[in-house]
Amino acid sequence: LTQTRLRLVGDDAYPDWEAVYQDNVDRVYAMMFAKVGNRADAEDLTAEVFLAALGPLRVSASVGEVRAYLSATARTVLAGHWRRHYGREVTTLAEMPDLPAPAAVDEDAPNPSASAIAEASDLLAGLPEKYGQVLRLRFLQGYSVRDTATALSITVANAKVLQHRALRRAAQLIEEATQ
C-alpha cells in the first residue's frame, strides 16, 4: 500500500483495458465485498462487472467516465445477484458512491474498505457494551465462539445467545436508520 501509485486525473484516458482493470479491480472488489460479506461472491461479482463492462467500454473514455461506468455496472450486477439468489435486494450500492472529482483522482480518497469500516464502527457504537464486544470479536477479529466465550468469561452457550441477540439489536438499529 505504500508503493507509488499511478496518478491519473479524471480526464486522462487509460492506455488499454488492462490498465482499466489494474486500476479498478481492487476498488470494485472492495465495493462488492462490503455488500456481500464473503469472498466467493465478491470474486464472482467482481468478475461479472469486468466481463460485462469490457465490451461496451470505449477505451478512449476518460478515467472518470470509466470509473463511473464500472460503478454503474457494479450496482446493476449486485442488484441482479440479490434478486436472482435471494429474491430481494438485501444490500445496494449507493448511487455513484465514489465518483471521482473531475479534477483529480486521488488514491488517498476514501475507498470502499474505509467506508465499510466506518459503517461497522457506527453500528457497534450504537450497541450496549456486551453486544458490541461479542460482535467485534466474532465478526471483526474472527474469533471462534469458544474463544469469544473465553475472552468474555461466559459459557459457549451464552456466547451464542449473546451473539444472536446482539446481531438482532444491530439489525434493529439498521432498520431504524433506514426508516
Partner: protein, 296 residues
C-alpha cells in the same frame, strides 16, 4: 425456520463460506445486512487475493481476444453506456468463440508483458505509453497474504480458473469445490490453451488422459467442474496410469496413488510425495482445454 436460515447465513459469513441461497423475507434482510456490514469491516476483507486478480486478468484477456475487442484502439465509436444498463453477460459472451488457437500465440493475460515489474510511479502522457502498467500496491503485503492463504486460496484459484465459462453462462463456479491443500498450478512462461478432449467425452464423473508433448496429464469432471492434473508421479517421475473404475491415478513404480484432483491417496514411501501439480483448464466451444506450453 426464519431464525435457522438467517443463522446459517451468518455462520457461513463467519466461516468465510459462500452463504446458501434462500428467499429472504423482508424482516430478515436487516439482520443479513448487519452481518455483512460487520464482516466486511474485518482487517483485509476488502482486498482481493493475488491469485484471483491474476486469474481474472487472464480470463479478461481471453474474453477480449474472443470478442476481438479493440485493445487500445479508439476507433470504437460506442460511448460508454452510463444509464446503468449492463449488457447481459449470460448471453453476450461466447467463450472462446472465433479465437482460434494460433500457433504459439501469447497466452491469455499476456497481451502486455508480465506486469509484475517494479512500480515505476507515474507515466507521462504523450509520445510514449508504456505497455506494462505496473500492478499497483501489490508488493510485500500481498505476497505475505498469499503465503498466509496458501491452501484454500490456491484451491479456489484453480476452480475459479476453471469456471470462467461457467460464469459467462451465469453459473459461477463454486469456490468451495476444491478446498484441499492445493499444489502448484502450472503457469508456463509461454503457454496457450490446448484442446485435450471434447466436452461431450467428459461426462460427470469421467476422466481422460492427454499427452501434449510438452506436458501430459489427466482431466476429470467432478461436481460439474473440470480439473486437470499432471501425469507424472511427484516421487520420481514415473508415468501415472488412469485406474478408471477406482477413480484414481496409479504409479507403476512404488504403489503410490493419487486422486483425480491430484491429492495423494496412498503411498509406501518414507515420506509422502506432494500432490500432483494442476493445470489451468477451461471449456470452450465444446472442448476441454488446458493451459500448457506450445509444442516444441
Amino acid at each position: 425456520v426464519t431464525a435457522r436460515r438467517v443463522n446459517r447465513f451468518v455462520s457461513d459469513l463467519l466461516r468465510g463460506r459462500r452463504p446458501k441461497r434462500f428467499r429472504v423475507e423482508e424482516h430478515e434482510a436487516a439482520e443479513l445486512r448487519a452481518a455483512i456490514t460487520l464482516r466486511a469491516a474485518r482487517q483485509g476483507a476488502g482486498t482481493p487475493r493475488e491469485e484471483f486478480v491474476t486469474d481474472l486478468r487472464r480470463r479478461l484477456a481471453d474474453h477480449v481476444a474472443s470478442q476481438q475487442l479493440p485493445g487500445a484502439q479508439s476507433e470504437d465509436a460506442r460511448a460508454p453506456d452510463t444509464d446503468g444498463q449492463v449488457p447481459d453477460t449470460h448471453h453476450a459472451g461466447t467463450p472462446g468463440s472465433g479465437a482460434p488457437d494460433s500457433g504459439t500465440a501469447a497466452p491469455p493475460g499476456t497481451l502486455t508483458p508480465d506486469t509484475r515489474t517494479p512500480d515505476t510511479g507515474t507515466y507521462g502522457a504523450g509520445e510514449h505509453i508504456p505497455a506494462p502498467i505496473p500492478f499497483r500496491g501489490r508488493g510485500e503485503l500481498s505476497r505475505r497474504r498469499m503465503v498466509a492463504t496458501t491452501g484454500i486460496a490456491a484451491g479456489a484459484a484453480a476452480v475459479v480458473g476453471a469456471g470462467a465459462d461457467h460464469l459467462l453462462n451465469g453459473r459461477p463456479a463454486g469456490a468451495e469445490l476444491a478446498q484441499a491443500d492445493d499444489p502448484q498450478t502450472l503457469e508456463p512462461n509461454v503457454g496457450q490453451w490446448r484442446t485435450v478432449a471434447a466436452s461431450a467425452d467428459l461426462p460427470e464423473g469421467g476422466a481422460a488422459g492427454f499427452d501434449l508433448g510438452t506436458v501430459a496429464g489427466f482431466v476429470a469432471r467432478q461436481g460439474g467442474a473440470v480439473e486437470a492434473v499432471s501425469a507424472m508421479c511427484t516421487h520420481l517421475g514415473c508415468r501415472l496410469a488412469l485406474n478408471a473404475p477406482a477413480r484414481r491415478l496409479d504409479c507403476p513404480c512404488h504403489n503410490t496413488s493419487f486422486a483425480l484432483d491430484g491429492e495423494l491417496l496412498r503411498h509406501q514411501l518414507p515420506s509422502p510425495p506432494p500432490p500432483l501439480p494442476k493445470f489451468h483448464v477451461r471449456e470452450s466451444n465444446g472442448t476441454v482445454q488446458v493451459f500448457a506450453p506450445p509444442e516444441v
